[in-house]
C-alpha cells in the first residue's frame, strides 16, 4: 500500500494540484498577468509608431538638402527635442529626455530598495525609500509637463496639436501625444499607488499585517513603467 502511494506521487507533476506551480502569491501573479496585458497595449502603440513612421518619406540629406521642419518627410527626433529648461535658445539635443530617463531609472532603484527593506520588516527604511520613489515620479511628471508645453507652444512655427504640427507630418505630433501621454498616465497612477503604499506604511498597516507584500506588487507596476520608458526612449527619441 505504501509503495503504491510512493509510485503515484513520484509520477505526479507540479500541475497535479495541491501546490502552487508558479510558487508565487495570487496577488503577485495577477499583477504579472496585468502587466503582460499592459505590455501588449504599449506594444500596439509602438508598433503603430513604427508603421506610421516608415509609411512616410524618410529624411535624406542627398534629396532634401539641409534639415528643416517640413511636412514632406518625417522629422529627426533629435532636431525636435533639443530644448532644456532655463537654457533657452541653446541646442542640446536629447539632453532633457536623457535626464528624464535617469530620473526614472533612479526612482526604480529606490523602489527596489523599498521592497528590500520591506522583506526585512524595516518600516523606517521602507518609508524613506518610498518617499524618494514618489519624489522621483513627481519630478519625472514635472519634466513631462515641461516637455509637452514646449512641444505644444513650439519654437515660433505654430507649435503642435493632434491634427497639425510645425515639426513634420500631422501623425508625428499625434503619436507623440498618444505614446508619451499614455506613459505619463501610467506614471501618474504609479505615483498615486506609491503614495497609498507610503501612507499605509507610515500608519503601520503592513507592520500589523506582518508583511510588506503590497510594496512588492506596486513595485512591479513601478518597474514596468520604467521599462516602458526605456522602450519609448529608444523607439521614439533615439531611432
Amino acid at each position: 500500500m505504501s509503495t503504491a502511494t510512493t509510485e503515484i506521487s513520484s509520477k505526479t507533476s507540479i500541475w497535479s494540484g495541491g501546490q502552487s506551480p508558479f510558487n508565487i502569491s495570487y496577488g503577485k501573479l495577477m499583477m504579472w498577468f496585468f502587466l503582460l496585458s499592459d505590455a501588449f497595449t504599449f506594444s500596439a502603440l509602438l508598433v503603430t509608431y513604427g508603421m506610421v513612421r516608415y509609411s512616410h518619406t524618410a529624411y535624406d540629406p542627398s534629396v532634401h538638402g539641409e534639415f528643416v521642419f517640413s511636412q514632406s518627410y518625417w522629422p529627426i527626433p533629435e532636431k525636435v527635442f533639443e530644448a532644456v529648461p532655463f537654457l533657452h535658445g541653446v541646442s542640446l539635443p536629447l539632453v532633457f529626455v536623457g535626464i528624464m530617463t535617469f530620473i526614472l531609472i533612479m526612482s526604480s532603484v529606490t523602489m527596489v530598495l523599498a521592497v528590500e527593506a520591506g522583506h526585512r520588516m524595516d518600516k523606517k527604511a521602507v518609508q524613506k525609500w518610498m518617499l524618494w520613489t514618489i519624489i522621483g515620479g513627481l519630478v519625472f511628471l514635472g519634466c513631462q509637463a515641461w516637455e509637452w508645453t514646449h512641444f505644444i507652444v513650439g519654437t515660433g512655427g505654430g507649435g503642435a496639436s493632434l491634427s497639425w504640427n510645425e515639426y513634420g507630418p500631422p501623425d508625428f505630433a499625434a503619436l507623440f501625444f498618444f505614446i508619451t501621454g499614455f506613459h505619463g498616465t501610467h506614471v501618474l497612477s504609479g505615483v498615486l499607488l506609491n503614495f497609498l503604499i507610503y501612507y499605509r506604511t507610515v500608519t503601520g498597516m503592513y507592520e500589523r499585517r506582518g508583511h510588506y507584500e503590497m510594496v512588492e506588487k506596486v513595485g512591479l507596476y513601478w518597474h514596468f513603467v520604467d521599462l516602458v520608458w526605456v522602450f519609448v526612449f529608444t523607439f521614439f527619441y533615439l531611432i
Binding site: I14, P21, F22, N23, I24, L29, W32, L35, L36, A39, F40, S43, A44, L46, V47, T48, G50, M51, V52, R53, Y54, S55, H56, T57, S72, E78, L94, G98, T101, F102, I105, M106, S108, V109, M111, V112, L113, E116, A117, R120, M121, D122, K123, A125, G204, E207, R208, G219, L220, H223, F224, D226, L227, V230, F231, F233, T234, F235, L238, I239
Partner: protein, 109 residues
C-alpha cells in the same frame, strides 16, 4: 499600543551584498543609457545604429525585468508565461514594418 507593536517587530539587518548588487544593476543601467546617448551622436543613421540601439534596449529591459522585477529568480514556468507571449509582439513589429514599406510605395511620394 503603538510602542508595544514596534517592540514586537524584529527588524532584520540589511544584507550588504544584496544592496551592493542593486546598485551594481543601477550602475549598469545608467552606463548603457550614457552609451546610447554617445552612440546617438557618433554613429551615422543606418542599420548598424539601429541594431546597436535595439540590443542595448533589450539588455536594459533584461536587467529591469530580471533583477528589479525579480523574474529571473521566480519559477521558470512563470518566467516563460510572461516572456513567450511577447513573441507575438516581435512578429507584429516585423509584419507592420514590412507593411509600412508597401504603403509608402503605393503612396508614391
Amino acid at each position: 499600543m503603538s510602542s508595544e507593536e514596534t517592540t514586537n517587530v524584529q527588524v532584520i539587518p540589511a544584507d550588504k551584498a544584496k544592496i551592493k548588487h542593486i546598485w551594481t544593476v543601477a550602475g549598469i543601467l545608467g552606463f548603457i543609457t550614457t552609451l546610447e546617448f554617445i552612440v546617438a551622436f557618433t554613429i551615422s543613421t543606418g542599420m548598424l545604429k539601429l541594431s546597436i540601439f535595439v540590443v542595448m534596449t533589450i539588455v536594459k529591459a533584461a536587467y529591469i525585468v530580471g533583477e528589479f522585477m525579480h523574474l529571473k529568480h521566480e519559477s521558470k514556468v512563470l518566467m516563460w508565461s510572461i516572456l513567450l507571449p511577447m513573441i507575438f509582439v516581435v512578429w507584429m513589429l516585423i509584419a507592420f514594418r514590412y507593411e509600412a514599406g508597401a504603403i509608402l510605395d503605393l503612396r508614391g511620394w
